[in-house]
């Protein structure tokens, strides 16, 4: 068991021993007519010494030997009782000199060895106690209260001590895993960075050489964009997980590729998770549309801006553009395509979508969505 968790148990046992020692002394002082009270005080003295010894010994070095000695000393004190009490000792129910002090080793065994050790110690002491009280033939008429309580204490304390130990172990493992994870992340950042550099270099050189190398370069470029986004990590912003807010900028940056440039502010653009996903989906639809209508090689730009109470995302392509009125025409004819999936999503969020096409400068779709619905 980990030291940190175990120590409070041992301190509690010491407190118990001291308190029950005081109780035993009171009982002896109050009892009259004992045969040899001097030996009784002698026993109390031994108990006091042993209490001090265990308080020190258990906090420094715990071992089986110490537990066995603890048990023997306690049994000795218990078995000395008849000599002290003389005629008073017997089945009449007078408490032996150590009184409740005999619980000490039971607790110690339970904390050290768990439930079974605790019960074993309790049984040993109970048998000795019952034997003292004259139950020499194991007469079941002698009240068993004390014995039952002692065994119960051994079992329960042993059980709790084990549970605590397991909890401590799990906590320790979780802490180790977390530290390992952090270290791995730190290493990964460095590795990713050098992989990114190599991919970018392959892309650049490949395009310069041309031919098959250009194809390799293009592939490297795609992988570079994918990896770069992965390194940038999750759209969940530290500190905002609980509020259900995510960074739309990070979601949009996932659309980035060799053909698509995504521009966002350096600080997170926060939107409730559901709205953020809808916006990202609308942008995805707009980009799909660009690819479908203007070809794979068409370049596109995505710009995210935060305004007062709203977020504006603009998607522009450098395709041929939509002739004036074509979009309204298509909408009127019921061939909604772009308009429906984009306008629909944005309108569902209480926002607006606006299409602009300037001849020779491609098409722009501007989506403005309020930050709260």
């Amino acid at each position: 068991m980990g030291r940190s968790i175990e120590m409070p148990f041992w301190r509690a046992i010491t407190v118990y021993r001291v308190a029950s020692l005081a109780y035993a002394a009171l009982v002896l002082a109050g009892a009259g007519g004992y045969q040899r009270p001097v030996i009784g005080w002698l026993v109390i003295g031994v108990m006091a010494l042993w209490t001090a010894a265990t308080a020190f010994a258990y906090s420094v070095a715990r071992s089986r030997t110490l537990l066995v000695i603890d048990m023997l000393v306690t049994l000795g004190c218990l078995l000395a009782s008849p000599y002290v009490q003389g005629a008073d000792a017997g089945p009449a129910g007078v408490m032996p000199v150590p009184a409740t002090w005999i619980g000490g080793p039971v607790l110690a065994w339970a904390v050290y060895g768990g439930r079974r050790a605790g019960v074993l110690a309790a049984v040993l002491l109970s048998v000795a106690d019952l034997w003292l009280r004259g139950a020499r033939g194991f007469d079941l008429s002698v009240p068993l209260n004390g014995a039952v309580l002692l065994i119960l204490a051994g079992a329960v304390v042993g059980h709790v001590a084990r549970l605590t130990e397991q909890a401590e172990e799990r906590l320790q493992r979780a802490v180790e895993l977390e530290a390992a994870g952090r270290e791995r992340q730190r290493l990964a950042r460095g590795i990713h960075d050098s992989v990114l550099q190599v991919l970018a270099l392959v892309q650049r050189r490949g395009l310069e050489i041309g031919g098959e190398a250009a194809e390799l370069g293009r592939l490297a470029g795609e992988q570079e964009a994918a990896l770069r986004e992965m390194v940038r990590g999750e759209p969940v912003v530290p500190g905002y997980e609980g509020a259900g807010l995510v960074d739309v900028g990070a979601l949009l940056r996932r659309h980035g590729s060799t053909a698509v440039t995504v521009s966002t502010p350096a600080t997170p653009v926060l939107l409730p998770a559901g709205r953020a996903r809808e916006v990202a989906a609308a942008v995805g639809a707009a980009l799909d549309n660009v690819r479908r209508h203007c070809g794979e090689d068409t370049r596109a730009w995505v710009l995210a801006e935060e305004g007062p109470g709203s977020v504006t995302v603009t998607i522009r392509d450098d395709g041929p553009g939509i002739p004036a009125g074509r979009l309204a025409e298509a909408e009127a004819e019921g061939r909604l395509g772009v308009a429906q999936s984009i306008r629909g999503r944005v309108a569902g969020l209480g926002g607006t979508a606006c299409f602009i096409s300037v001849p020779g400068q491609g098409t722009e779709v501007e989506l403005t969505v309020p930050t709260a619905g």
């Binding site: 050098s194 940038r232 710009l303 935060e306 450098d318």
Partner: protein, 210 residues
């Protein structure tokens, strides 16, 4: 001068520059060394990677801006965080290019940097727009924080949407030169504000300690 911790990249960039008849006065992979060398060889242009083993790229950009005369800095980075890019630009870098840019784009960016013209990729324009927005929200209306004019905002948004200066000039019916000036102004204001902030901070610290 080329500062990049990746030897293959360093060589590749240096070779491209030499083929394009630029003189590469120094190459290094470490930030502190970069600052020492820059002070000695006084390069006109520094091509700076933001990921270096000892200093952060932002710190190097800040250190270079303190050189006299300050070299022009073009940030060329693979996986740099958005915040780092913005900080480097605020610290005085006048352009940013991702490493996946083609050789032509790169050489064009170097040429413009050497001429003192900012290299505004759409990504950088988005970052700068976001930063002005952040400053506007953060500071009170009567504060002297930097503001964009409506025209500047318009130009910057078009840059962020991937339009070339020529296309912007056509759309807004401006001269190419005017578009360039607007872009330059947005960057100058941000860098000036950053310097003023640093000075203010230094004075406050100085007064407290004195």
């Amino acid at each position: 001068m080329v500062v990049d911790d990746h030897p293959m990249w360093r060589d590749s960039v240096a070779r491209d520059l030499e083929e394009a008849r630029y003189e590469v006065v120094a190459t290094t992979g470490e930030g502190r060394q970069a600052l020492r060398i820059a002070a000695a060889v006084r390069p006109d242009v520094v091509i700076l990677d933001l990921r270096l083993p000892d200093l952060s790229g932002v710190e190097v950009a800040r250190g270079l801006a303190a050189c006299l005369p300050a070299p022009r800095v073009l940030v060329l980075s693979a996986s740099a965080e958005q915040e780092d890019v913005l900080e480097a630009v605020k610290a005085g870098a006048s352009g940013y290019l991702v490493k996946s840019a083609s050789r032509e784009e790169f050489l064009d960016a170097v040429r413009r940097t050497a001429e003192g013209e900012p290299v505004f990729t759409p990504g950088l324009a988005g970052l700068v727009l976001g930063e002005y927005r952040r400053l506007a929200v953060q500071t009170s209306p009567d504060d002297d924080g930097p503001r964009l004019t409506d025209r500047e905002t318009e130009v910057l948004r078009l840059v962020a949407k991937g339009l070339s200066y020529k296309q912007i000039a056509e759309r807004l019916v401006l001269s190419h030169r005017t578009v360039q000036n607007h872009v330059q102004n947005t960057l100058n204001k941000l860098q000036l504000h950053n310097r003023v902030d640093l000075v203010r901070y230094a004075i406050e610290r100085g007064l407290d300690e004195g």
